[in-house]
Every structure is written in structure tokens, then in C-alpha cells.
Amino acid sequence: MAERLSMIVFSGTVDKLYPVSILASGAVAMGMDVDIFLTFWGLNAFFKDTIKTNTRMSKDFEDMTSMMMQVMKEKKVPSWHDTLRKAKELGNVRIHACSMTLDLLGLKKENLDDMVDDIMGVGEFIETARDSKITLFI
């Protein structure tokens, strides 16, 4: 069985979603499986209607947001969600939505981007992540 990278994605700002997609890409490139658990703002970022329009950045670097956005646009850096989609095409990346957050917001799987594979409770994710080589909270 392939080694696994597990990520708990709590953040929903673009600057933190980039490392999620890039680390997932690096992991599949190196032959690892990836499991991503989306919770709170991380899940919020995968809503079908806003996934492409989200421009939120971390508050602590607010003064640099417009400069970063401009640089990324000029250098034609692919979006975090396109990068993640490509990683999913190339390897075994499973994306799980936290059932508690979904219930809290009164939403269903249909409201989420189609990259999301299923809805999962925290217990099942921990069970999935138990034997991971790398586990990150982002």
C-alpha cells in the first residue's frame, strides 16, 4: 500500500489553500496517496458557487494581499483549485468533507465542488489518517 499524506484543511484563505494543492501535487508525484479532510473555513472554500471567486487572504498579511494577487496574475500562476484538480487527475487524492461543518451550515454534498469525494465524520478521518506518514493541519 502506498504511503500517505493526510491534511486537515481548516483554513479557507487562498494563501493557505495554495500549499494544500502544491503539497498534494508533490505527494502524488512522489507516489504517495493523499487524504484531505475539509473542515470549517477549509470546507467553506470548496463551495461550488464561490470556489473560483474566493480572494480571501490571511488577515496578518492583509497589506500584501493586492500585491500578491497582482504578481500571481502577471506570472500566470494557476489557481490553487486547478492545481489540486491536476493532482487528483494524476494520483490518488481523496477529499472528504467534514459532516459536522456541513450540518452546521445546513448544506449538502451537491453544494460542494465535484472534487469533494464524500462526507466523513472526524472519527473515520482519524482512522484513515492513523497510519499516515505525514499529517498536517493547515
Binding site: 508533490g26 508525484a29 494557476p78 491536476k86
Partner: protein, 80 residues
Amino acid sequence: MSEEPKVDRLIDARNTFCPGPLMELIRAIREAKVGEVIGVLSSDTGSKRDIPLWTSKAGHKLIGIYEKAGYAEIVVQKMK
């Protein structure tokens, strides 16, 4: 490394960012036949390290890294 090898396919991944060139190479290797030689043009500094690393891990052969003006050509042969 002076004599440059002939490549069967050339991927121009210049001006894409890490991990873009590596991902494009992996895609090309998957489509290629065993024995094919693939060149990747990359202006991403990380490529010169992570492409050789991936190549040995995946069991392919690094033919060479050729420095150009502002980018490198990394040549890999599909071995299996």
C-alpha cells in the same frame, strides 16, 4: 555534459511554477513508450532537484541537466 541527447518529445514548461514542470513530466512519461527520451524546459529552480529525485524514485533514467539562458533542459528516459 556537452553533447546534448536527442529527445523524442520536448515539454516547454518554462514560466510555470513548482510543481508544474515535474507534473508535466510525469504526465508525459505516462503517455510515452518505454525507452523514449523526454526533455523538459524549466525556469523553476526547484526542478533541477525534484525532477532528478522523482526520476530515480520512479525508476527512470536521468540523461542530463543542460543549463540554458534563464532555464534548464532536463532530459529523462522512460525505463519501465
